[in-house]
Structure formats: structure tokens, C-alpha cells
Symmetry: C2
Subunit: 517 residues, 2 copies
């Protein structure tokens, strides 16, 4: 069945109430009952939940074939926890495990092999890259991988579509009763926003730390009342890769030019006023936007009320300059943002439900004014791909992209028109990860296009003297520069389902041909 | 059927899996599935949840005959919210409402009339006093009132025995999206610990405030993701009665003497060491214990790691003197504790689930060293009554009494041997609210008795040269002073069920005879 972004979704996937994507607000107002975890009462006074090893925790939690386990990705490329746990599970001969992670990255290459071995037969994640991406793209995973936005993941958990049997939560600090924080220790990641959801909905919760601190470890991101066991290990991650040095603002003149255009566009809208809210991605041009909105804010004498998202240094800088009242933070991307959570009193941790779950009673993104994001590809319907490469390989993550852009009053994609020999603006993108109705403006190094759905924004741009072109013209320009791209040839087999925020099917990813031996 | 504290529970109450009390740890390890609320998805970006009146919120929430609504009691005797909401419900002609409150007090006299009118036909609460107590004690409520400890209330909600259709949450400050805090505004109550549970489990959540603040009101006790509507009213409470002036430490020499004995007893146990934890009630003698442990702590060179409970001035004083590392706070009893939550960085708000739910994965009380509490009556089996007066009238609240005393390694009851012509220590108390197995030591103005179950404590007291008597001897002494009390004569009808922490039936309260016209 053809969905609202023109993708043909195989009928065999449309079982158990699954539907194709029918527009951002199709399920607005839907009434549903949240599930609850199955827990074991601890009435007897008890001093500690410490167990001696991950293996012992796995045994005590009763992990067995067919179960679903979860991980978070606050440790980013420095994560050791998922590999440590999955290796123990594999060594115990347990198989047919579904991993429900907030994201998987290059750190998890060893799990690629477990997919081939049948230890892992299900995967639900936002990001997928490296060996895991190759394994899935090559059809090695027994069931289709389910890709979700950060908000979509929370929705799936809070609507009971994903039931986590055991959540393994790496925590920079924890006490012996399970109160855990993202702050402190040698593997400091600042916040534990993704894991806050898992702790509330998983039947069993294991906190894994490399820094045991005195009880109570407060205020906790993960509350002891939700934790069954605590394990202390040598290292939960590589600090160098968890909180890396702040990305320096790009010096690439093309990126700087695009960032400046984004700031001009923001300033031309009615939303750029005292008390506005803002999110930016971590791409070079997106990050640089902060530099260019600063003088415009000072000129107008306005302040930002709140900045949100994955937080990084440029946003912290504006906070510390007094140009932002507060930051609400679902992930820290660098050492500056980790440090800021520690020291700045108005830099707050939020759960990913608060951040962007589309189906709670109202997430932060629902009140967002601006978001500036990148894209791997964007088509002439403004649909964006951030998950598959131009060769069809799984190598990215929708992350908060579909969530922030759906919520924001003005969502801006900033991207060069071509990358190498690949057109970024094209007729047909490999995978739709964010529907075009969520995207308002496209900024490229060859011109700016506003989504025709937003005549109001077109008028504001004209009034501000910002020259616009059309997305078709940008596509034609791209094709004239690098030629019309060939269609990628896939096998028929669906290897991944790209869910829309609301759980409908936005697109499917099929097995690649060019990676076959 | 006779239960573990010797009370005869009518068989007709033992339906739907309800059992009689069988000891504190009878249900330890029970496995159950938590319920979840039925919610309506708010996908569409939305600026505000403000509605114009409580009546409009009631209408939008679909409140109808037979529903259960909830309130919290952080505003104590100064609460206006429950009356405002219930009056609108009554005016709308809605009837057969069950109120599931964390507690009801003297502020709620107007609801006594609604019980007689059939607007309110069910009541689940910790405390019950004043006109409501009289109405229930006189058999006016259609169904038996269910009395629970604070932990027992959370348990009942988290086990699905109480389903809240609409939670009305009074909040000192809130933003237009529903982020609510106990701090700030003109009706400052410090924390919103009771309401944190309601917000997570009620289908509909209405925040009622008299101080609207800019979004986001952070960090929130009640998160916007759980809130449907926000109403601004003139006043949610009487600030004078919410955070009253700190109770001055008693000058009554008898109370001071008992408090000093409590401190000596604490110091004689092995638990009185660096890093210990402590809770105290707000009775005159209980509060004064803080004064007497201070010199003992200094003498030994030890600090308290955490103080917990309803917090009041003497605990704040020890925190500010650097003798306590942190306070974990489920309710503020005076202006000093409210101010402390604002200014002291290690004075933390906790939910009542974290505080004392007996059936989560481990509450704070499970790790508590000492608690000092009062009693209306205590029998020779150390069973305590804190809910019914000597005339049988409902006039008190189990509160956190059964929870803290069950968890603490050393629980001390401090009470004068007689009050007026009424013996406090007696053969048979009116109502068992806390089972004797939870109580370790009784301190009276005529001697100290240790529960024979705690030979270890008896040995420690002897070693410290603390003279002990038996509880039978104390009872005999009381009777010799004021005579043997007459048994109260009740009607047969059960007007209230006193639940144990785990949901089993600890006792029943019957309709009083002496209040009949």
C-alpha cells in the first residue's frame, strides 16, 4: 500500500493493526492504555542490591532465549556496556535475543557477529552503523530491524509495542541500592535521559557502574525503586569517546555561509522574539548557526527562553553568556555540555518522553520554535533521509530529527547541494526518515527553498528580502553538476522498517545487492 | 478470621483476593504487574493547556457518577483545592464519587456534608478528621472507608487496586503546559511527593495553581507529559496554615526527659555510627530527640548520612549545622523545611514511592536505621493505634508510621503513659494501625520497654546501663493510675478498613454508638 510519503509498503507487514504512514497528525487524540512492568516486591528491609558480576545479574534476572534486552547510547562511541552484557549472554548460550536500544553505533561492531550467529535475532534502535549496519543490510538479521526516532522509541515502549524484559543501564555513578546518575565518575556522560524510560517500563533493571558512591546518590536519573540489581565493573566506557572535546565551530566558508543564511531566515520569522526556543543538530553548519544568531539576538535585545536537544558547546556558550534562560537536555555530545550539566543550575536533564514522545500529553518539541538539522538526502517533496547511505547501506540514525522537525514551528534543513559526486537534493531519496510535511525550509550552498505548504514563511522571507528558489530548481542544479543518480538495486527482502513517530510505517529498507559476496 | 495481630476480620470483607494480615513480610517477593493510565495522545504542536475554570476542567475530563478523583495533602490544614473541586462536582449534580486522597484533614469539613448527600460514597485516605471523620464514624459513607499508610496508598495505586480517573493536583507554581512544582508562589508547600504518584497513574491530570510561571517551570515535580489541563485560580490554600511557623521544641520537662531517653537508646545500639539514617515524627517528644542526639553525635564524632520523612525545623537545623549530609523529603511540615528545600542543595524531594511503598523494588525506609514516632495507644503486643480516639471516633492518620517502623532497624515509640484519664499503654487498643512486630522500643515517662522479639536490643540497652521494664508492667502502672478503661461499644457495621502496608486487612473500624442522636 502506498503511504502518505509515496512509499509502497508491503501488505505482509500490515498485520496486528500496523498501518502505513498517513500524515503527521493521523493519530493525534488517540486514546490508549500504557503498560506497566512486572515487578517483584521487596518488602523486607535490605541493605544492598549489589551482585558480583554481569553474569550473575543475567542469571538472577532469568534472561532466556527469546527475551528483549535494552541499552542506552549516552556513552556514544565509547560504550562498553552493550558488548559486555551481550558477550555474557552469548557465552551463556542464550540465543534469539532482541536488542531494544536507544541507538547502536560503531562501538558495537562485536554484536554484528552475534547477528550472524543467531544470538541476536531482533533489533530495535534509532541508529545503526558499522558491522551491525552491514549485517542487517546484508539480510543477516532474522527479523526486520525496526528503526525509530527517539520519540518513536518512547512511544513504542509507552504504548506496549516493545516490552523490555531486562534493561541493562550503564551509569557513571550509582549507589548500592541502584540510584544512578549520568554525572560524576570516570565515565561521565552528563544525563541518562534515554534510560529513564527503560527503568520505568522494563520488568528487570540492572544498573552497571564503574563508580560506586555512597547511598543515596541524589538526585537520581534512575531511581532505586525501579532497580533490581547493581553491578560494579572495571570500566563502562572509554571516557575519551564518551565526552569528546567540543567540536570546534567549522571554518569551512561554505558551511559558515549556510549557517549565516539559517540565522537570517530565523530572524525573518515572527517566532524570533524574546522567549523563543531553539534546537540545533551537531552537523558543522547546524552548530555554527548559534554563532550567527547571537548578534541578531543582541541587536533585537531578545533572549532565548530554552534550548533543547542533544546539547553541545555552542548552546552552552549562549547559556553562559546569559542569552539563554535554560537548557533542557536529553543527551550530551561533548565535554562542555557534560560540564555544564554539572555546574549550570538552569541546565536540566529531561527524559526522552519529555523531550519528544509524540503520544504523551505533550512533549517539549510540541512547543519548539526553531530547529536546524542536517540531511543525507532530501527529495522534492521535502522528505528527508538520515539513515541510509547513497549505496543503500544502513549507516545513520533518525534520532530526534523526525521529532523536532514535526514539532517546531520552523524547521530548517541545512546541507550542501552535493556531496562528492552525490546529489543531496534529488528526485527520490533512498529511505524516508522524516516526512516532508515536517520540513519548512531547505538551505543549501546554492540557494534556499521554502516548502510550498508554508506560504506564511515564504511571505516573511520575501518581506525580509531573502531570495528564494524552488526545491525542483535546486534538484535540477544538483543533477546538472553531478548527473542524474542511478537507482540503487535492492533485493526484495525487507531488512528494516522505518517507523514514523506514531508507529505507522514510513518506509522500508531492503537487502542491498552490492555488498553480496 | 483472626489475623496476625489478633483482630477478627469479618469474612464478608475477604473477597476478590483480599486477605487478613499475616505478618509484615507475608507478601515479600510477590510478583505483580503495574497498571498504566489510559491517556490521550497530543501529537499536534500545542502552546498551552490552560482552561478557564475548574468546572471546565471537570467537564473536559469527563467526570461522571461513580468515578474516582484524587487529591494530595501537602497544603495540610490550609488546603482549598479539594473543597473547590468537590463543590463544583456537587454543583454539577455528579454523585457517587470516590475520593482517593493522600490524606484529609480539618480543612475538608465541607466534604462531610457531601458524604451525607451521596455526592461522595467512597473514601480512600490516610488521615481522616473533623466532620469527615464524624460522618464516616457515624456510618454515613455508603462504602467502608479504606485507610492506608502513605506507602500503602502508593502500593494500592501501583498494584492497580485504586484506579484514579482524574487527579486534581494543587501546585504552588505551574506553567501553561503543566510542569508543576511545590516551590515558589504564594502557597509554597516545598514538595509535591504524594501527587507525583497520582500524576503517573491517573487517566486525567489537572494542575490547579495560583501562580502561573513561564514555561518551562523546572525541574518539575509533576511533568507536563502527564498533565491534561492547567487551571489558574485565585488561591489554592491559606499560606498561614500550609507552612506554619516552625514548632518550637517543647519545654515540657516530661517530654524533654522522654526525648533524652530516646537519644540514649539510639546511642546504645550498633546503628548509631557514622553514616546512620533517621526519621522522626512531629510530636513534641519525637521532635525534641534531634536536640539530644546532637551532643551524642558530636561526642562520637559521627554524622548522619540522611534524614527522611515529613521534614521539620529540627532536622533542617542539623542539616545546616553540617551534622546531616542530606535530607530526603516527602512532606514539609513548617516554614523552615519549605525554605530549606529552596536553599539547601542537599535537601531533596522524593516521591512517596521512593519514601515508603512496601512493594516496589526497595524504598528508602527499607534502609532506615532509626525512627521515633508517637502513638495514641499501644497494647502489650506493641501494636499501635494512631487513627481512632479513645471514644472510637476516626480522628488521626497512619501516615508514614507503619512504613517507617516496618523498615527501620530500631523503631521507637515515645508517649506519655497516660493522657488525662486515658491509659496510653493498654490491653486492647481501639484500632491496630501499626503491627507490634514493627515496634522495637517503647519510651514512656514511667519507664522503657523493649519488644521481647528484639533480645539483641535488650542486650545493648543492658550493656549501656539503660534500665528497662516490661510493657505489661507499664500497662499495669497506667491502669493503677487511671483505672481499667471500659470497652467501647460499637455497632456491628464496619465503617472503615485499616489496611496493612501490603494490602491485607489489619483491622476494621465500626460505627460508633455514642455519636448517635
Amino acid at each position: 500500500m502506498i503511504n502518505a510519503v509515496g512509499r509502497n509498503i508491503p501488505d505482509e507487514l500490515l498485520t496486528n493493526g500496523r498501518e502505513v504512514f498517513q500524515g503527521n497528525n493521523y493519530r493525534d487524540g488517540q486514546i490508549y492504555t500504557k503498560p506497566g512492568p512486572t515487578v517483584k516486591a521487596q518488602i523486607k528491609p535490605q541493605e544492598s542490591k549489589l551482585v558480583e558480576s554481569i553474569r550473575e545479574a543475567i542469571r538472577l534476572c532469568g534472561v532466556k532465549d527469546g527475551m528483549t534486552v535494552s541499552f542506552h547510547h549516552h556513552f556514544r562511541d565509547g560504550d562498553y556496556v552493550a558488548n559486555l552484557v551481550m558477550q555474557e549472554i552469548a557465552d551463556l548460550g542464550i540465543k534469539d535475543i532482541t536488542i531494544a536500544a536507544s541507538s547502536m553505533g560503531a562501538a558495537h561492531d562485536p554484536i554484528g557477529k552475534m547477528i550472524e550467529d543467531g544470538v541476536v535475532t531482533g533489533l530495535q534502535t534509532s541508529g545503526i552503523r558499522g558491522k551491525m549496519g552491514e549485517a542487517v543490510s546484508n539480510g543477516k538479521l532474522k527479523t526486520p530491524c525496526i528503526l525509530r526516532s527517539h520519540g518513536g522509541r518512547v512511544r513504542a515502549i509507552e504504548q506496549g509495542e516493545v516490552h523490555i524484559d531486562v534493561a541493562f543501564i550503564g551509569a557513571p555513578t550509582a549507589d548500592e541500592y541502584g540510584n544512578a546518575r549520568g554525572k560524576g565518575g570516570k565515565s561521565d556522560c552528563g544525563v541518562l535521559s534515554y534510560a529513564m524510560i527503560d527503568a520505568k517500563y522494563a520488568d528487570k533493571v540492572v544498573v552497571i557502574t564503574d563508580c560506586l558512591v555512597p547511598f543515596p546518590n541524589f538526585p537520581p536519573s534512575i531511581q532505586a525503586v525501579d532497580v533490581d540489581y547493581v553491578v560494579v565493573v572495571e570500566e563502562i566506557g572509554n571516557p575519551q569517546k564518551i565526552a569528546s572535546k567540543a567540536a570546534r565551530i567549522t571554518q569551512d566558508p561554505r558551511e559558515l555561509m549556510m549557517a549565516k543564511e539559517c540565522a537570517r531566515i530565523m530572524a525573518a520569522t515572527p517566532y524570533f522574539k524574546d522567549g523563543f526556543s531553539f534546537q540545533t543538530g551537531v552537523g558543522g553548519a547546524s552548530l555554527a548557526v548559534n554563532r550567527f544568531i547571537e548578534p541578531l539576538m543582541r541587536e533585537r535585545g531578545i533572549r532565548m527562553r530554552w534550548g533543547i536537544g542533544g546539547i553541545s558547546a555552542p548552546m552552552v556558550e549562549l547559556l553562559e553568556k546569559g542569552l539563554i534562560d535554560c537548557l533542557v537536555d536529553a543527551q550530551d555530545f561533548d565535554i562542555d555540555s557534560v560540564n555544564s550539566v554539572h555546574k549550570n543550575q538552569t541546565h536540566y536533564e529531561i527524559s526522552t518522553s519529555q523531550y519528544c514522545n509524540p503520544m504523551n500529553k505533550g512533549a517539549f518539541v510540541n512547543k519548539l520554535d526553531f530547529v536546524v538539522l542536517a540531511a543525507l538526502e532530501i527529495d522534492t517533496g521535502f522528505n528527508v533521509n538520515v539513515v541510509t547511505g547513497s549505496d543503500g547501506l544502513l549507516m545513520g540514525a533518525p534520532g530526534g530529527h523526525p521529532d523536532a522537525s514535526a514539532g517546531a514551528k520552523c524547521s530548517i534543513i541545512v546541507t550542501p547541494l552535493v556531496r562528492g559526486r552525490i546529489p543531496t537534493v534529488c528526485e527520490r531519496i533512498v529511505t524516508v526518515t522524516t516526512p516532508g510535511e515536517s520540513i519548512d525550509v531547505l538551505v543549501t550552498d546554492y540557494g534556499i527553498a521554502v516548502n510550498p505548504r508554508r506560504q506564511d514563511l515564504i511571505d516573511h522571507m520575501s518581506a525580509a528580502g531573502i531570495e528564494l528558489t524552488t526545491i525542483e530548481a535546486l534538484k535540477d542544479k544538483a543533477y546538472s553538476m553531478v548527473g542524474v543518480p542511478d537507482d540503487i538495486v535492492f533485493h526484495d527482502r525487507v531488512v528494516a522498517i522505518m517507523e514514523a513517530r506514531d508507529g505507522t510505517i514510513l518506509d522500508v529498507v531492503r537487502q542491498i545487492k552490492n555488498y553480496e559476496v
